[in-house]
């Protein structure tokens, strides 16, 4: 299992569009990806659940990746967060 933390810098937080793109990215991975923040946890592929976490700017989230491609997947996801959120 790989994990990393990231502090959201986007003004609105994890909003619909990046959450949607994230769900798409996560779907093509072999690994399972979970986001955790504010005491809530959701699988990255589940768009409404991720949005339902209501993650705002300045919140630290923990991303865990577990599966065959976890090494590369974690790297890819970290880059995604930095670029989009």
């Amino acid at each position: 299992m790989k994990s990393f933390t990231y502090v959201i810098t986007d003004e609105v937080g994890i909003h619909a569009r990046p959450a949607g793109v994230l769900a798409k990215e996560a779907k093509v991975l072999d690994s399972k990806v979970f986001l955790e923040a504010n005491g809530k946890k959701a699988e990255a592929t589940r768009l409404l659940a991720v949005m339902g976490m209501g993650v705002k700017k300045g919140t630290e989230i923990t991303v865990t990746v577990e599966g065959g491609d976890e090494e590369t997947a974690a790297e890819k996801l970290e880059a995604f967060f930095k670029a989009n959120l």
């Binding site: 937080g13 619909a16 569009r17 949607g20 769900a23 589940r46 409404l48 949005m51 339902g52």
Partner: protein, 547 residues
């Protein structure tokens, strides 16, 4: 006529007939099904169809209203694929043996409730997206078309609420304004209205009986006028024309210098009455604030405003103008502006009475509070101060003594301030006639033409019967003005005009020929005056007829 007030999302005026837009709210019926697998297949087919529709809407929106507004359909398509949403629909069909319409609608309600109960405005507004998706699916399942047909004539669209797909489907050519009961400043409808720049109000209690009635949407005050009278119609039409004109001017003149053809630069500033006027200062591209009336802080209160309240207001304007000039005029109360807690006696002739600097010098504690606030604000921008209703050198000296006291106090308290430019309003014939003497006392003059005209011509401007005699272009007024400019320049002062006459474009050239350095006008007039300045050529000689 009836009037309703809501919250304005986009400013502007629209006049037209109301179209009450309803979703045709027939509730989804719950029906038993025998073959759950077939029902789920029906659902999958509807989902595919909905995805196609969303793609079409995305393409349409992209073309008509741009990426920002189109993105919503991309998001909808993603939500449509959400596993939890789909699991829930299938589960309801299977476990309750019900029709797909009911399963979709129940799922939509549940997920939208999840969002509407969240704290953050943005996430709350997403409830509408979920409802929009479930309604789209239900329409497909029921074989209904969702259309945005608005009829032949442009209309004001009035609705309890509008889903993004509804607004995007509407024919943009036929849309004058939006008025809704629900919705938020973050909703897609609000974003769309902003993009299209049409007025929009929310929070107005809607009645479907309004359909077809004539109405005015005033996005400046947040008012909806239903079946308006002739008077208000006329007023609003004038406002609309002004808006159109200034929009046109803005396109041509925003960011351009206020400079004549032969290269004379003029400072073109705006008059404001409160911090909320700053919006129009920016949208009309004023180069500074030539008159910040400070009465509003007193008029809107039940008691004297504190130094801190005054300071905060001055500071925020100074900061917003970011180094551009902000001229704060000290309190001009009395005459037609009365405040209860000042306990002033009734006067026979208030325009010539106990007002402005007369009152301030008589009540130094009130005046010094204001001066302290001004000097404290000075370190946050480029602040100047000016004093109204001056008639003598003696008054100016008394003011300067008080200013020195205030500065001394601030120093003693260790509070930072900058030395600010001090000026006076020239609005009495007395001040104009001794402007040579006054010039050596101050840094600038600003001519308040409204009072100067009234006092010079002895015409009460509150008396409508005298309107015919109120000649703003009277040679006596123009002679005084010329005199003030000449005396000011000789004594090292720059000279501006901050009265209504400053915005009179038939006089702009004459003012510039007199040597006026600054014009401060109401924000909505800035660009018209700039246009006039830019087409003036002072190198072309002209004979003076009047003065």
């Amino acid at each position: 006529m009836e009037r309703y007030t809501g919250k304005s999302i986009v400013k502007g005026i629209a006049i037209g007939r109301i179209l009450f837009y309803s979703k045709g709210e027939n509730p989804v019926e719950r029906g038993k099904v025998e073959d759950c697998a077939a029902e789920i297949e029906r659902y999958e087919a509807a989902k595919e169809q909905a995805a196609k529709e969303l793609d079409r809407l995305y393409q349409k929106a992209l073309k008509e209203v741009g990426e920002v507004n189109a993105a919503v359909f991309e998001v909808h398509a993603m939500m449509l694929e959400d596993e939890d949403f789909n699991d829930s629909v299938r589960n309801i069909i299977n476990s309750q043996q019900v029709n797909a319409e009911y399963a979709v609608s129940a799922t939509g309600d549940n997920f939208s409730r999840m969002f509407s109960e969240m704290e953050d405005d943005y996430f709350q507004a997403r409830a509408a997206d979920v409802i929009d998706i479930s309604e789209r699916l239900v329409s497909v399942l029921e074989g209904k078309e969702r259309s945005g047909y608005l009829g032949e004539e442009p209309v004001i669209v009035v609705a309890h609420d509008l889903a993004p797909s509804e607004t995007v489907q509407m024919d943009k050519e036929k849309l004058l304004a939006f008025v809704t009961e629900y919705g938020s400043a973050n909703s897609h409808t609000a974003i769309l209205a902003r993009t299209m720049n049409i007025p929009a109000l929310i929070g107005v209690p809607i009645q479907k009986e309004w359909n077809g009635k004539l109405a005015i949407v005033d996005g400046y005050s947040g008012t909806l006028y239903l079946e308006p009278g002739e008077k208000i119609l006329k007023l609003m039409r004038v406002k609309m024309e002004e808006d159109e004109k200034s929009a046109e001017l803005l396109q041509q003149l925003k960011g351009k210098e206020s400079v004549t053809k032969d290269g004379r630069k003029v400072h073109l500033y705006a008059n404001i009455g409160s911090v909320s006027d700053m919006v129009s200062v920016f949208s009309n591209d004023a180069e500074g604030i030539g008159l910040f009336r400070s009465e509003f802080l007193y008029l809107e209160k039940e008691d004297y405003p504190s130094e801190e309240e005054l300071f905060q207001a001055y500071k925020s304007v100074a900061e917003m103008m970011a180094g551009k000039k902000v001229i704060i005029r000290t309190l001009d109360i009395g005459a037609d502006k009365q405040v209860g807690y000042f306990h002033m006696e009734k006067e026979e002739n208030p325009a010539m009475g106990y007002r402005a600097i007369r009152l301030c010098l008589d009540r130094p504690e009130v005046f010094k509070t204001q001066l302290r606030a001004v000097f404290r604000a000075s370190v946050f921008g480029n602040v100047s101060v000016m004093y109204p209703m001056i008639i003598s050198v003696d008054e100016v000296r008394k003011i300067k003594e008080l200013v020195e006291e205030v500065k001394k106090e601030l120093r003693a308290e260790g509070i930072a301030y900058k030395d600010v430019e001090q000026g006076i309003m020239i609005e009495t014939p007395a001040a104009a006639l001794i402007s040579d003497l006054l010039a050596s006392e101050v840094d600038f003059f600003s001519v308040g033409t409204n009072d100067l005209i009234q006092y010079t011509l002895a015409i009460d401007r509150q008396n409508a019967r005298l309107d015919a005699h109120y000649d703003a272009h009277h040679p006596a007024v123009l002679r005084l003005l010329r005199m003030v400019v000449e005396n000011g320049h000789k004594g090292g002062c720059w000279v501006g005009i901050c009265g209504e006459l400053g915005a009179d474009t038939s006089l702009t050239e004459e003012f510039l020929r007199m040597g006026v350095d600054e014009l401060s006008v109401s924000p909505s007039r800035v660009l018209s005056v700039r246009k006039e300045i830019r087409r003036t050529d002072l190198s072309v000689l002209k004979t003076d007829e009047n003065v």
